[in-house]
């Protein structure tokens, strides 16, 4: 029996610095990922770097040990307005930064994925760094696999179907497990919960806020829904139409309007619009207008969490409130154009609904129908197909123009993570297949495991065009695999050719020629792989990953570069091999299945009926 290798025990304490200088939704997604880490590694001590304008949610998370907020108003705005010089601003930045360099961090995680944060990450000392950073010469550095994957897809504008929150969670947990040992905490605890943020409504009693007292005094026996108004997107007529349908058919429902100060005028128009509709009974009593609240302000954030946590559903377009509601366990119905990446901006958790499609195709009927289906899951237990549900309303045409997705967190033995299940089954296009194939590559590379194709794809989703496309794609994928194999062997050759070389500049003429030949062959292959990017989105992902990996080779000597390049080509080769398998498995799903005679139901032909 082979000896088992035991992972090291986790240290008694770990100091982790998380840099999140992105927008509010990225802050919320980072908090969700960190909650999972904190559950599994309770001894971790987290310091969170965030912009002052997005710090409010972080201040309400009690398990974050320290918050270092960057005062962008005080520093950036004053420079831009000319009140301060850049030199003065630099001095303030240096002062702000000082507490962060007091210790060497065990782990520094930069989840901002922007340029500014890469300089900060490069500057701060840490044992392990994740995310965008800088090398000693200040050139860009992105060392870890997940960050390279994300960067490669972003620069090539390629989509994939792993939720951003899942990527952050997997990225940090993998590193924790490798460097700090097996987790000691509870892995079964739900990440979303009403108690995620420490501010409870009782804490707000002292708050002298009209909106607060209105919310406190609401009729809590009613079923409250939230609508997040926006000054862009579908507009008030659309939402009025959705809400009037709800009010007509569901007299138990009331509505609370939320949104920033920019929508207070819109909210008044919305109410007037709704009052003008022909709904029976008093509508005014059923609407509570709490617009004018933003998550940037601490008091308003606290009230917003109380409101979102106290409602059954949030109706919205992509916004930070969708993430807050998802964290609090409130169900979200999000209307989302199909140009928006659902796996970056969609709510995380179980039972959220996305209504997607081209802007003009998303009608109030589609949204109401999707919500009515979701809100009555307890009765039909999803045994009723959504197509039947829509046909009962006489809205089959409205359904055919949109895609309705329901979010679901897979079991860990099914690969884990959230996915948006398409409820109105339609045939899959090439773009959707490519997105899934890219997701598959990400999982294989960085999780080491992926769900079976047949588990998430059914035969009726694969059409003839896709089959033809995949048959053409397969030999190309095999060519890419073979190119990567060749490139790997050249990289190994480079490694061997530079053995014993004291300088990369001074060498014999023969050796220089030999190295030049190998390098030009590698360059030729690189160019060929990049050319494949024109032949399909999946190849675009592969070629972009190659470019990102090559940019991030760490070695300073030819020999080191040869060794690292060989590993990069092997990584890509594995990806191309998996792509061939994924194509095969998709085609396998599409293959006709033999039916046993006993299962055949013989239908009457017209001839037979005529005989009768």
């Amino acid at each position: 029996m082979a000896p088992t290798v035991k992972a090291p025990d986790a240290p008694a304490s770990m100091h982790c610095l998380v840099i999140q200088l992105g927008q509010a939704q990225e802050v919320l997604q980072s908090l969700m990922a960190l909650r999972a880490v904190k559950e599994l590694y309770p001894q971790i001590q987290i310091t969170f770097v965030v912009k002052e304008s997005t710090a409010a949610p972080v201040r309400r998370v009690h398990w974050i040990e320290q918050i270092v907020s960057f005062p962008e108003n005080q520093i950036i705005d004053t420079i831009l307005s000319g009140q301060k010089s850049e030199a003065q601003g630099l001095c303030e930045v240096a002062k702000w930064l000082r507490p962060l360099v007091q210790n060497t961090w065990d782990l520094l995680v930069n989840w901002s994925y922007n340029e500014s944060s890469s300089f900060l990450t490069g500057l701060l000392p840490a044992r392990i760094k994740l995310g965008y950073s800088r090398q000693k010469d200040l050139s860009f550095a992105n060392i870890d696999g997940w960050s390279q994957f994300l960067q490669a897809l972003e620069r090539a504008s390629v989509s994939q179907n792993i939720h951003f929150t899942d990527i952050l969670t997997t990225q940090i947990l993998t590193v924790m497990q490798i460097h700090f040992g097996e987790p000691s905490g509870n892995s079964e605890v739900a990440v979303t919960s009403r108690g995620f943020f420490s501010s409870e409504l009782d804490d707000l009693v002292g708050l002298n806020h009209l909106a607060h007292s209105q919310w406190i005094q609401r009729d809590s026996s009613r079923r409250w829904l939230t609508l997040r108004l926006s000054n862009k997107g579908k507009g008030i007529e659309f939402w009025c139409s959705v809400i009037s349908r709800i009010f007509q058919r569901h007299p138990e429902c009331n509505l609370v309007l939320v949104g920033g100060e920019d929508v207070t005028e819109i909210s008044r128009n919305f109410t007037h619009h709704l009052l003008a509709s022909s709904i029976r009974g008093s509508i005014e009593e059923r609407i509570l207008n709490l617009t004018g609240m933003t998550a940037n302000n601490q008091e308003q954030f606290d009230l917003l969490t109380a409101v979102l946590g106290g409602c059954h559903w949030l109706f919205c377009e992509p916004c930070e409130e969708a993430h807050i509601a998802a964290i609090l366990g409130t169900r979200v119905l999000c209307v989302m154009s199909d140009s928006v990446d659902a796996y970056k901006q969609g709510p995380y958790g179980n039972g959220h609904y996305l209504v997607r499609g081209k802007t003009a195709n998303i009608l109030p009927e589609s949204v109401y129908g999707a919500w009515a289906y979701g809100a009555s899951e307890w009765s039909h237990r999803r045994q009723t197909k959504i197509e039947k549900h829509f046909s009962e309303f006489g809205w089959s045409a409205e359904l055919s123009n949109v895609q309705i997705h329901r979010s679901k967190i897979r079991n860990s033995d099914e690969g884990g993570g959230v996915f948006y299940e398409l409820l109105n089954k339609s045939q899959m296009g090439i773009a959707e297949w490519s997105t899934r194939a890219t997701e598959h590559l990400g999982r294989i590379w960085y999780c080491g495991w992926a769900p079976k194709v047949s588990d998430e794809l059914s035969r009726d989703q694969i059409n003839r065009d896709l089959i033809i496309y995949l048959r053409e794609l397969k030999p190309l994928a095999e060519q890419v695999r073979s190119l990567c194999e060749k490139a790997e062997s050249y990289a190994i050759e480079l490694f061997r050719a530079t053995e014993g070389l004291k300088s990369d500049r001074l060498m014999t003429l023969e050796r220089r020629q030999c190295i030049n030949q190998i390098a030009s062959k590698m360059k030729e292959i690189d160019d060929s792989i990049i050319m494949f990017g024109n032949k399909g989105t999946v190849f675009l992902a592969l070629s972009s990953i190659l470019e990102v990996m090559m940019h991030n080779l760490l070695g300073s000597r030819l020999r080191e570069l040869g060794q690292e390049a060989a590993l990069a080509y092997r990584h890509l080769q594995e990806g191309a091999k998996q792509l061939v398998l994924y194509i095969d498995q998709t085609l396998q799903v599409a293959r006709p299945v033999r039916v046993n005679e006993g299962q055949v139901v013989v239908l009457e032909t017209s001839e037979k009926r005529g005989n009768v």
Binding site: E72, V101, R134, S339, V340
Partner: protein, 76 residues
């Protein structure tokens, strides 16, 4: 804190701390800080412009515009 001397003091203090880490040696702290501040100002201005465009857009806004996530133009 407002004059050049104080700034030099702050930078020097930071330099001392950062250099204590072997992996960070030879880093010019003042240069990195200037890059950090420059990039922050650039991103701040870019966000303002994008928000203006987004708020003026009719119909669906392209939310990719609002997300600076992973965009790294001009780096590397």
């Amino acid at each position: 804190m407002e004059d050049g001397e104080d700034m030099a003091t702050h930078i020097k203090l930071l330099q001392g701390k950062v250099e204590a880490s072997p992996e960070a040696q030879n880093k010019d702290v003042d240069k990195i800080l200037a890059c950090f501040l420059g990039a922050l100002i650039h991103e701040h201005q870019k966000n303002d412009i994008e928000n203006q465009i987004a708020s003026q857009a009719e119909g669906f806004s392209d939310h990719a515009l609002n997300s600076s996530l992973l965009k790294l133009k001009g780096s590397g």
